[in-house]
């Protein structure tokens, strides 16, 4: 009698535990995504500071600086869609690396205290963003494992949880920064 009750209780408990673990993993994915968003915003906040610091020196790169300021305005505005924001973020990453590369031409600027502090902050931020992206991929792997492996996939299909995508670099981004292009801007 008691054994039967215990077996039934165990059978009821297992789906509950699976359900909770699936919800937990989904939320972890969203959590990390939110952190990436926050870090990207921090990077956008650095841009006006960066432009102000280099503007006086880098007279030949005016178009680059104007471009990055415009991108920033678009990225923080409410009117751009999420997909556009992702694309903008990729573009901003590229432009920032071009600007940093162009600074090599201006030794006075490069050695300046303001710029050096900015450079360190930017490098640190990029490293944090990279860490967040790795954490996102780990969270997505965990979530996808639960959605696709047995026996959790049974509960997942009932809850209608689908596989999620990783953070991938698009083909265009994989081409390394062309130093020639940077200096001609």
């Amino acid at each position: 009698m008691y054994i039967a009750i215990m077996i039934i209780a165990a059978l009821l408990l297992i789906p509950i535990l699976i359900y909770n673990s699936l919800v937990g993993r989904k939320n972890q994915v969203l959590n990390v995504f939110g952190t990436i968003d926050a870090l990207l915003k921090k990077r956008y906040d650095l841009i006006p500071n960066l432009v102000a610091t280099v503007k006086g020196y880098m007279r030949h790169e005016r178009t680059l600086l104007a471009e990055v300021t415009e991108m920033r305005a678009k990225a923080i505005s409410d009117r751009t869609s999420d997909d556009e924001k992702v694309e903008l973020d990729n573009k901003v990453t590229k432009i920032l690396s071009r600007i940093m590369l162009a600074v090599e031409n201006y030794p006075d600027l490069k050695a300046g205290e303001n710029f050096m502090h900015l450079q360190r902050t930017l490098t640190e931020l990029e490293e944090q963003i990279s860490a967040a992206r790795r954490a996102y991929n780990a969270a997505v792997t965990d979530y996808n494992n639960a959605v696709e492996m047995f026996p959790t996939n049974v509960v997942a299909s009932i809850m209608n949880y689908k596989r999620r995508k990783f953070f991938e670099i698009s083909e265009k981004e994989r081409e390394s920064v062309d130093a020639g292009k940077s200096f001609s801007a």
Binding site: E124, E127, A132, D142
Partner: protein
């Protein structure tokens, strides 16, 4: 970086005079010990003959004088060699340390404090027997470092049930890390995955004593180590892909169990050794280049951690 050839030259010029002086002292001690040893042996034989006469059988009565003799001999050897060991460390080891890097300070009788050892959070058991020596500190490039030999044990029970367990024995190294961070991350040798394969990961995630399990991407790193931390993103910020590769290379270089932790913007590295480091030989000659080479390589391994983990690259906000 000093090479072996530099060391050989250093050995022939700066060290040989001191080594010869110490060798003379060692021989004097060995002579004394031989006399004492013979005296004790004679005493033991007389006692054994006496006991045999009285009791008639070999066991267990004969064991006590034998054990007593060995213990007494060891105690006397230790007492006589104290001055010799101290002088050896203050001359030879001190010189080797300065030879490797002028900026380093060597204090033979000091060691990393127990509170710092516990603050690293690598070892959860608080040892009740704690000792160490050969403390070195100083700045290597831009990185403040310190390390020493440690022997931490936990003794439990009393009387007959007393058992002693080694918490950690080996080299304990602390350095300023090159990034600012507020969370904690602990890197331990991965035993569960070796034994249980992929199920090992499941068991590891159940370990409630240690924060959250952090699963990292480098497969070789994951094979050797298991990582616990309190923040998924911060742990990956600390353990960048290049740092993970460097830790694996260091592990292969030492081929010993190593433990790391990142706490309070510092990195702690514990390398397990079974031998005692930087101790001079008593019963055999010390006039071998190979011995000096061993001291040099052990020191070089510890100091080299700064370069191995690339701690002098200061491109982030910490300088």
């Amino acid at each position: 970086m000093k090479t072996l050839d530099d060391l050989r030259r250093f050995y022939n010029t700066a060290l040989s005079a001191d080594l010869n002086a110490l060798e003379a002292k060692r021989k004097a001690i060995m002579q004394k010990l031989t006399y004492i040893g013979v005296a004790i042996a004679i005493l033991v034989i007389i006692t054994l003959l006496f006991v045999l006469q009285q009791v008639g059988s070999f066991f267990p009565a004969t064991l006590f004088p034998l054990i007593g003799a060995i213990v007494l001999f060891a105690f006397i050897a230790n007492l006589l060699s104290k001055g010799y060991v101290r002088e050896f460390k203050n001359t030879i080891i001190q010189k080797i340390v300065k030879f490797i890097d002028e900026n380093l300070n060597y204090v033979p009788h000091r060691c990393i404090s127990k509170s710092v050892f516990m603050a690293s959070e690598i070892f959860k058991t608080r040892p009740n027997r704690y000792k160490g020596d050969d403390y070195v500190s100083g700045k290597v490039g831009a990185t403040q470092t310190e390390f020493s030999e440690l022997h931490a044990e936990y003794e439990s029970g009393s009387g007959k049930n007393r058992s002693r367990r080694t918490v950690f024995k080996g080299l304990f190294f602390i350095a300023d890390f090159n990034k600012h961070f507020t969370c904690k991350a602990i890197v331990l040798p991965d035993t569960a995955e070796k034994l249980f394969g992929s199920f090992g990961k499941m068991f590891q995630s159940w370990n409630v004593l240690r924060g959250r399990l952090i699963k990292l991407e480098d497969p070789e790193f994951e094979k050797f180590f298991v990582v616990y931390g309190d923040d998924q993103i911060q742990a990956r910020y600390i353990l960048s892909t290049s740092l993970m590769a460097r830790i694996v290379d260091f592990k292969k270089k030492t081929s010993r169990p190593i433990y790391l932790s990142f706490v309070g913007s510092r990195v702690f590295v514990a390398v397990s050794y079974t031998k005692n480091l930087f101790e001079p030989r008593l019963f055999r000659t010390i006039l071998h280049f190979e011995l000096v080479r061993e001291y040099f390589e052990d020191l070089q391994l510890a100091i080299g951690i700064v370069d191995d983990l690339n701690l002098n690259t200061r491109i982030w906000t910490k300088q």
